[in-house]
């Protein structure tokens, strides 16, 4: 069936290095792809989104890349900091009447000092 999933369940990086978190999706009809960050005991926090007609979007220290050919989404975090340690979810918004988000399974990012 249609799904949004993540390649790596856990990613460990050294502080100051760049992090790349990947996500595969199967629904080509999605309008938006979104990255959320979830810290322990908290709700998902919006990081950045990208519309399906774009390839790249940059935010503060983050970049999202969308490769529609291979149905792949990535989140790049520059100069990773300890505060970036969290679970990262990709999600897709397929539009429609409800505007619901369909989440992937999450990647745990661990930043080592």
């Amino acid at each position: 069936g249609e799904s949004v999933g993540l390649h790596l369940p856990t990613l460990s990086v050294q502080e100051g290095d760049n992090s790349i978190i990947n996500c595969a999706y199967s629904n080509s009809a999605s309008d938006y792809f979104i990255w959320y960050k979830q810290e322990s005991g908290k709700g998902p926090q919006f990081i950045i989104d990208i519309r399906s007609n774009m390839d790249k979007r940059q935010g503060q220290r983050v970049t999202v890349l969308l490769n529609k050919t291979v149905k792949h989404l990535s989140l790049q975090i520059a100069a990773t900091q300890p505060g970036d340690s969290a679970v990262y979810f990709c999600a897709e918004n397929r539009g429609g009447g409800g505007n619901k988000l369909t989440f992937g399974t999450g990647t745990q990012l661990k930043v080592e000092l």
Partner: protein, 114 residues
Amino acid sequence: EPEVTQTPSHQVTQMGQEVILRCVPISNHLYFYWYRQILGQKVEFLVSFYNNEISEKSEIFDDQFSVERPDGSNFTLKIRSTKLEDSAMYFCASALTKGAGEQYFGPGTRLTVT
């Protein structure tokens, strides 16, 4: 910075009891959502709500679930007769517009059904 708030932070109830989870969305937002996350699993959509009616609901959102916006600020999720498998974190979210991806999530209510 405005934020979505939820109460209570933790609710313990016995199987078969009714629970009401409460949310105060961001004040100028128009679209409201409930999601849940069973421990260790992904976040799952339950229901979306706009203009005082349900826009979309998932298979999880059966007849035991209902939502209401009783006034201009609160948005509630009611589970009429809780089951053990309803134990999860329940997140409320709100959005200003429909088209954009950005939904703001509350901190969640942890529901434990015993």
